[in-house]
């Protein structure tokens, strides 16, 4: 396999006070779904925005390497990046209502992407939009193209966002919590749709989520983020079978699993809260919440190998798979 997106040691800071992303490295292979998983504030969304060069004003990005399909993203000018964005790499967000313009019809918003990047007539673009809407499972696309975002349900709006992202045949789709605002029933439909598109169009997907259930069901590879760092990377099955980092283990024990519930027992939980991380922070960011922490955790932490494609950021030696605490 070859990497479509390669990120090495990405750093993102805002105004020199907060370090949002601190040396994150991961790669998205061609045709795979790669999940960035973590809790709020861990830097997963900022990472995606940094890749797309969409950071808010005041955000500074630096990296050892950021390449997309052989193109060095760090050396691109704003204009060159704009040609890539929405075209070869597209992005969908959590709340489709806030990413669609309420004052324009679905049709005019969908066609704009295509005519802007690829030219062509509006009629041709409308045809393409209708075809893609059928493809993402929207019935009566002709009618929907003339409607405004508020006339659509949440699930339909997210399908429109996906269809819009596909207008220019992107190679990479970045999806930031695409189903978090949706009902579980609709969530399953949208995730199935993404899996189908990946298979049929050879799309690579970088999926950002906080939900380990989603990760387990759709990801090929996973990167677990905590406080701006990728603390563990592994193929999905291996991550769930033999999680290594204490944070990954803690996170897995927090999730109530249907059918395996023991109502009289408390759920596993991670004590404390994510610490404030300023520039110059050293050592393991999880040490204040970790039951294995000792004074060595305040120093540089090694990245250990637990398998061929499985590594993690912790001083503890790898442990073999053990049954999940219920």
């Amino acid at each position: 396999m070859s990497a479509l997106l390669e990120i090495e040691e990405l750093q993102v800071g805002f105004g020199g006070r907060t370090a949002a992303v601190r040396g994150a490295s991961f790669r998205v292979e061609k045709g795979e779904t790669h999940c960035l998983v973590g809790e709020s504030g861990c830097g997963k969304s900022v990472t995606a925005l940094a890749v797309m060069s969409l950071l808010a004003r005041g955000g500074q990005r630096s990296a050892k390497r950021m390449s997309f399909a052989g193109t060095d993203l760090l050396s691109l000018s704003d204009r060159e990046m704009a040609r890539l964005r929405g075209n070869r790499m597209a992005m969908i967000f959590q709340e489709p209502m806030t990413s669609l313009n309420p004052a324009f019809t679905i049709g005019s918003q969908m066609t704009e992407v295509l005519t802007r990047h690829k030219g062509g007539t509006r009629a041709a673009a409308l045809d393409r939009a209708a075809e893609l809407m059928g493809r993402v499972g929207i019935t009566a696309p002709g009618m929907r193209l003339g409607q405004f975002p508020h006339q659509l349900s949440g699930g339909l709006r997210q399908r429109v966002m996906i269809a819009m992202a596909l207008m220019c045949d992107p190679e990479l789709l970045i999806a930031d919590e695409p189903t978090t605002a949706l009902d579980v029933t609709v969530q399953a439909q949208i995730l199935r749709l993404l899996a189908t598109l990946k298979r049929e169009l050879g799309l690579s997907i970088l999926l950002i989520t906080h939900d380990l259930g989603i990760v387990a069901r759709v990801a090929d590879h996973v990167s677990v983020m905590y406080a701006g760092e990728v603390v563990e990377r592994a193929p999905t099955a291996e991550l769930f079978r033999a999680p290594q980092h204490p944070y990954t283990r803690g996170l897995l024990s927090c999730v109530p699993v249907p059918g395996r519930v023991q109502r009289d027992k408390p759920l596993g939980s991670i004590p404390g809260v994510v610490p404030a991380i300023g520039p110059g922070f050293a050592g393991c960011a999880f040490r204040s919440r970790c039951s294995h922490a000792d004074e060595t955790c305040a120093h540089e932490i090694p990245r250990r190998q637990a398998g061929e494609a499985h590594d993690y950021l912790c001083r503890l030696a790898p442990q073999s798979a053990e049954p999940q605490p219920a």
Partner: protein, 316 residues
Amino acid sequence: MNVAIEVQNLRCEFRVRTGLMSAEKRVVAVDDVTFSIAPGSVLGIVGESGCGKSTLARLILGLLKPTSGTVLVDGKRLFDLDRKARARLIQPVFQDPFASLNPRRRIKDIVALPLVAQGTFSRGEIERRVGSILERVGLSAAMGERMPAQLSGGQRQRAAIARALVLEPRIVICDEPTSALDVSVQAQILNLLADLRRDLGLTYLFISHNLAVVEHVASEVAVMYLGRFVERNETDALFREPGHPYTRALLESVLTPEPGKGVPDIGLGDAMPDPANIPPGCRFNPRCRIAVERCRHAAPAPMFRAPAGMVECHLA
């Protein structure tokens, strides 16, 4: 039977206009809901957005007036009581602790407000009670001096729980209490709610769209669809042997952290439920995989389902 709260034939209609010239429409948000909860138990309510679960919570709290029906707590009709008496019996915990806490007040003043509003507690008594409830929910005295914005999401939800419990109510209505929180914090709050229920003998109505969470906390679960309870049963029975096709679809759509299983095809279709246009017959029939002719014109009556529940389906 010994009951903490009894809800009888509760119904709530809204009249809405969809446009300037269009005729008024009737939206039945809650349609003939009847249930009771035993003291110290937890009834979980699950359903998709718009199914009426939050409207039900607001009705029971007295924040909305029902079209018909009654709520009894300790045999007293809740709607006959004044606000102060109601507040001593029943209290809410809402989803977003940031929206439900006054951003300009200190935490300890927010938590004290229900006591102050009663008008019968001395200043010393208020201080004592606030101090002890803050400690009970895991907030230090120093936290009490802070403003809501200075607390994390989990700490704010602890403060909201402290405010709900400071009057020592019998019943707590939890409306999506952990939906805005991260999983690690969600687990802390769920464990806290479980401890408090055990130690203080509380009864919960627990509303959530997350079935795994409901399975963990509830002793009994009701599934709500377009304003009605379509199935209700003891938690284990409902999760093991769901009787209603909608319950089955909901359970199938839960993504458990089990790699390799893929995303299930729950086959509910795109016909989203619309409370302004409830279909004739069984209200679930347009999305139902197993619907037969009878489902399209006859509404199913509630039927007993073992061990202690009900289901509304012709085919159950």
